[in-house]
């Protein structure tokens, strides 16, 4: 042990002396530079440090920083992973054409716009240059056509999150084509894509995108039971499904989701007027079935279960069926302040209550006993 200690101490001393010698020679060569090998100028700060600072500023300042010197430009172009141009009220298309080719490492690109500016050539540029893109937001890009989807399918196969809500010009064949290539999709927002979201497209998504967890089909009134059923069978990891305004679906869609997607926690059925009690009872029973199977497998997951349910305007439902759903899923609440069961317009469901109301009722009934 003594020898070991001495050796270690000697090693450290030698290293330190060598460093001092280097510093000394540095002093003799350059009178000004005191620390050879130590960073003395801001421009020589490590790239990861520069990128950490720039990750805290807005994108405009990032562009200005790339004009400081060549070294910074190269560092920024290589290191930037996230870019948002949603603030740009004009010239977004030209901006994408000039900027995106320089950011080869982009992983997140936000191009949501309130006024349609984006055109197919911009998306084509994105697809040709950003092969590592994972998150893309093209909301409200009314001008985009199927060409954009075909380009994205070929160039950005690692997409995990795609938002094309409001892109009403897309067709279902193009969306199906994209689904067959972008198989890692987890989050897909098709709200308002009436032409794109058809049973054909949903069947492709169910066939290829088996990791899907979140799907928004709001107001896609061409969606039918065939599409949703195929989706439910192909994507068992679904957690969030929004079918608001999908007026053509019936109980079969809900039954398929209830039986095939054990992790479902949020379901939107706003204005789905064909939904009847059969769908509600299947939701209620799915919890019982999952619990049994969970026990067999050795680990029932208490985290599972519906937390949000929107059945507004589903006027065919009866109180007993909806109450069964509430009893199965304690996370569904009707009490004020915690509305996770939304049933606006269902005038006959006033007697439905969550577990909180039951507890309150029992507490009230126990009060008279001490009076005796």
């Amino acid at each position: 042990m003594v020898g070991k200690d001495n050796l270690r101490a000697e090693d450290l001393n030698l290293c330190f002396k060598k460093l001092m010698m280097v510093a000394g020679s540095g002093n003799s060569e350059k009178g000004v530079n005191l620390k050879v090998g130590v960073i003395t100028e801001w421009k020589d700060i490590p790239v990861e440090l520069l990128m950490q600072i720039l990750s805290l500023v807005d994108d405009q300042t990032v562009i200005i920083a790339s004009g400081v010197c060549r070294g910074w430009r190269d560092a920024i172009y290589f290191g930037l992973a996230r870019l948002s141009l949603s603030w740009c009220s004009k010239n977004m298309n030209n901006l994408v054409l000039s900027l995106v080719p320089k950011f080869a490492k982009l992983q997140t690109l936000i191009l949501r716009q309130d006024k349609p500016q984006l055109e197919d050539n911009a998306v084509e540029t994105i697809a040709k240059c950003c092969h590592e893109l994972q998150i893309l937001d093209l909301s409200k890009s009314f001008k985009l056509t199927d060409r954009s989807l075909y380009e994205l399918a070929l160039g950005c196969r690692d997409l995990t999150k795609l938002n094309i809500s409001g892109c009403s010009a897309f067709s279902d064949n193009a969306l199906a084509y994209l689904a067959s290539f972008c198989r890692k999709l987890k989050v897909l927002n098709l709200c308002g894509c009436v032409r794109a979201a058809s049973d054909t497209a949903l069947q492709a998504i169910g066939q290829y995108c088996n990791q899907l967890q979140s799907l928004n089909l709001g107001w896609c009134d061409n969606v039918g039971d065939v599409g949703v059923t195929t989706l439910a069978y192909g994507c068992p990891d679904l957690r969030i499904v929004d079918l608001c305004g999908c007026v053509r679906i019936t109980d079969d869609s809900v039954i398929a989701l209830a039986t095939r997607c054990p992790h479902l926690r949020s379901l939107g059925l706003y204005y789905c007027k064909n939904i009847t009690d059969r769908a509600m009872y299947s939701l209620a029973h799915s919890k019982v079935n999952n619990r049994m199977w969970g026990t067999v497998k050795g680990g029932g997951n208490d985290e599972d279960g519906l937390r949000t349910l929107n059945i507004s305007q589903c006027t065919a439902l009866t109180p007993s069926a909806v109450q069964a759903v509430c009893d199965s899923f304690p996370s569904l609440h009707t009490c004020s302040g915690r509305h996770s069961l939304i049933m606006s317009g269902c005038l006959n469901l006033t007697s439905v209550h969550c577990a909180c109301a039951v507890h309150a009722h029992r507490a009230f009934t126990t009060f008279p006993y001490p009076a005796h």
Binding site: F16, W42, Q60, V68
Partner: protein, 265 residues
């Protein structure tokens, strides 16, 4: 074999600076005795700075002062001296507190900086510096207690500021308001070059909280500012050609619209 334990005596010298009118020079001796129940014999090792090394440190300090005086206007030098004096006083208080705490807690870590100063810090402060913690994890337990860890890229002034930050941060983290106030006060006391040296040291030692705090301050300073301002702020030389810069500005004309007018030259 029987273990041998030694007692070591370490001197920490703070060299007074002529440029600081109210600077105080203090000499702190910290005596640390290792108690071993099974110790049969004790051998003492004395570690003192050699006169040559001391002179070398003085020379370095003098040159550092010269370098600083070139960069800082003369009017600001006096204010800076006052700030540094306050910092020195605070450091003395912290050192005294550390001595008191050291008697209670036995876990201490020795850190030796680039300019030869050795710091005794509590183990929880060393844990904040992930590079130091990784070194301790890689070293066997019996030797790490006795040997000072060399920090080749960190100067004593930066390390003192980092230790101060860790202590004050822990004290202030009781409430969010105090924490924010402390971070703003800490950053306001630094000039540009001190900020640079400190963030590079924090990056090297991987002190995450300090690194994030300083990054936020710098990001705030350059937001909505012009290219010229950012160049001056960081001291970066423009190596673009005139044509390159003109083309850059034309391509990204949109980025220059909302720039603060005051930041233009």
């Amino acid at each position: 074999m029987a273990k041998e334990s030694g007692s070591s005596k370490i001197e920490m010298l703070e060299i007074s600076n002529e440029a600081m009118a109210e600077a105080q020079s203090s000499k702190i001796e910290m005596l640390e005795i290792n108690n071993e129940a099974m110790a049969e014999a004790q051998s003492s090792k004395t570690v003192t700075m050699k006169p040559a090394e001391a002179e070398e440190s003085k020379t370095e300090t003098q040159k550092i002062t010269d370098e600083e005086s070139k960069n800082v206007p003369i009017a600001a030098t006096e204010e800076e001296s006052k700030k540094l004096s306050i910092t020195k006083v605070e450091e003395s208080k912290n050192a005294a507190t550390a001595t008191t705490e050291g008697e209670k807690e036995e876990a201490k870590v020795s850190l030796k900086t680039l300019d030869g100063v050795t710091f005794e810090v509590e183990a929880w402060i060393a844990k904040e510096m992930e590079t130091v913690q990784a070194y301790i994890d890689d070293t066997s337990a019996d030797t790490s207690a006795a040997i000072a860890i060399p920090l080749h890229n960190v100067a004593g002034r930066e390390l003192a500021r980092m230790v101060e930050y860790c202590k004050e941060h822990r004290r202030a983290s009781v409430s969010a308001g105090n924490l924010k106030e402390f971070e703003e006060r800490f950053a306001a006391a630094l000039n540009l070059y001190e900020m640079k040296d400190l963030i590079i040291a924090a990056n090297y030692l991987n002190t995450k909280k300090l690194l994030e705090s300083l990054s936020r301050c710098i990001a705030k300073a350059i937001k909505n500012k012009s290219v010229e301002f950012v160049r001056d702020y960081f001291g970066v030389t423009n190596d673009y050609t005139t044509e390159e810069e003109a083309q850059y500005r034309e391509t990204n004309a949109w980025a220059f619209r909302n720039v603060d007018e005051d930041s233009r030259n």
